[in-house]
Symmetry: C4
Subunit: 208 residues, 4 copies
């Protein structure tokens, strides 16, 4: 066992991220080992899960250290994590999941965002009082990494996103200032998306 692995295993943040990762996997929110979870360890570094690992058995030794200042062109998901860490030094934990209902929802809504209205649960993710009554979930198109990052920059420029957005057909990104808040945001968004999907399925009854 080398020094780097030992360091991860003793890192309390690494242990917390793995616990959260296994909790996510148990809920079937990262099917076939999909999803990428990371936690910031310093201003310019973070620990990332390894995509090839079964997330039901995630342990600190499976985490990979990543230099956030690194200009290398990684895959889209890693690049988005990198972008979010650079955007706000307070962003501590980032979770990308590929859950069924979020995937369906991102395909169903044709607009570039969906407004959530009328759910008490919005309080859990609202950035400001306005979002408590009307909370936007941005939906990006899957495209080349550079274009996704460019679109993302414009969205954040327009308004503060409530700790989440979707890439159509690819999954949900959620973040927080701690492991606990990232988990709470993930659970709240999963609830909101599942509610809205159910509401849409039932609404056709009243439309006809």
């Amino acid at each position: 066992m080398n020094k780097s692995i030992q360091a991860h295993q003793l890192n309390p943040y690494a242990i917390q991220l793995c616990t959260l990762g296994r909790w996510i996997a148990q809920r079937q929110w990262s099917p076939i080992g999909s999803g990428l979870f990371s936690i910031r360890t310093s201003e310019h570094s973070a620990l990332f899960t390894d995509t090839s690992k079964d997330k039901n058995e995630l342990s600190p030794a499976d985490l990979v250290c990543f230099d956030l200042a690194n200009p290398h062109q990684p895959d889209t998901v890693t690049a988005v994590h990198q972008f979010l860490y650079q955007l706000n030094p307070e962003n501590k934990v980032i979770l990308q999941t590929q859950e069924l209902q979020a995937t369906v929802f991102s395909r169903l809504i044709k607009a570039d965002q969906h407004l959530f209205v009328g759910y008490e649960m919005q309080h859990q993710v609202a950035i400001d009082p306005a979002q408590r009554s009307c909370c936007p979930l941005v939906i990006l198109e899957p495209q080349a990494t550079e274009l996704i990052l460019q679109d993302l920059k414009q969205r954040f420029h327009r308004e503060a996103l409530p700790y989440a957005f979707l890439i159509r057909g690819h999954g949900l990104y959620v973040w927080g200032y701690s492991v606990d808040s990232a988990k709470r945001h993930l659970e709240a968004w999963q609830f909101l998306i599942a509610c809205e999907l159910e509401r849409i399925k039932a609404s056709c009854h009243f439309n006809s």
Copy 2:
């Protein structure tokens, strides 16, 4: 450990409420620690769950004693519990949950109540023979606490509610004269709401 905590831990009602609370949490009916559960300990006092605690690990030491005669303006959920205890001295246990299907149902139905007809399960919650064949579930609008309590008073004045009502987008309130009856009413209403939501989703097939 202080006297108050010891008292709760020895209180058989507290232990029962915590057992029920963990059962509710395991069914995912109180996501992100949402929901408020309480049990009457005397004419003017009750034990309440602490909203900040994970209800999967609820124990008597997490319960907070509350003076029901207290005129303080608490949050809406606590105020509604207080109202229900004052309404009927027989009300012993009150459960507020924020379950997905009840939330969706409360958003879907635009009227101020929904009538359940044709389910054998209505027998479990009916106050009188009339409700066995037609059982109303009242839906209140989310608004200022005082207005909710005022609306609630008028609804109870009009007719005895079958141990439950909804606040639109906020969750389901259920109560009973014992831990067992409150649990039975909760399970019956969850069943009825889930059935009706499924029925509505499937009905559009026959409408078109």
Copy 3:
């Protein structure tokens, strides 16, 4: 412990029925202790579950012996069990469940039966080759016990039912010539009903 209870506890059929009952309860097919399960012990006697017991913890001591030749007017569910045992001496196990999807299905279909077509699973319950390609599920109206039994007699007179029927809003009745076959028929009908309900929910997309 009295002799009668000892007899049940040593009865291998009683043990099998309780095992099956707990399996049914774990699948949430008998919410709030609903459902009635029974097993024939002789030409004119059977063991019945006690409706007041939580079926997750069903044990032989909870079973009640019932004289099938008894002319007493019991509740509808017991009377239907009695009818089915008298109808065919080979009927050995009868299961009445109040599962969500069967309940919704029975409310959704307005006709007095629904024909299942195109499912390989129909082979598991078909009485004859004709039912393999078109398998009827009879739906009775909830009414006075005598009228239900009269309707049931007419349905059986018209054709052999494929080991199941529904009472609208009340639940599903399934039977078999052994514990294993009753379990297989229950599982097959739950599958068929759930499939058809899903198909109906998705069909409105193609109708419009």
Copy 4:
């Protein structure tokens, strides 16, 4: 215990197939013991599950050795396995499941295939870059074994199938070059089918 059974129990592929079989059964993807799973042991032989066994308790001793070169006319499911092994010597594991959502999907789609578009998950099953953006799932009609095999030959002649096809109302066939890849293909197709079924159910809202 005879030599043949001992051989299976020591066969690492047999152990892997049984582990996968129990995983499938736990997800309720092979109700009532349905489904047939097999693993190639040589160019002309494979181990098959016994349809009469509960797949929750599958063990190597339950597997039956089958001569793939055997011209005997077996049942349709076995014949399809045999066909797939003969089609490509690299096909190592074949799984036939009778899961609810795949069954409903196969009944819902009237065409002889369905094209999956817009899901990142398509990468898991795509044979080539074209299938990453548009991935066909072939649906065969249930008919005599010979006609099914004939239809299947024509479909494979037209294009390489992405490791799966459906027989309408009968279930899903999935295969892979190893136990791991067959499992991954099964999980990916279950995800894709469940997503598409949800999308269809919700789409009627937007059509009307």
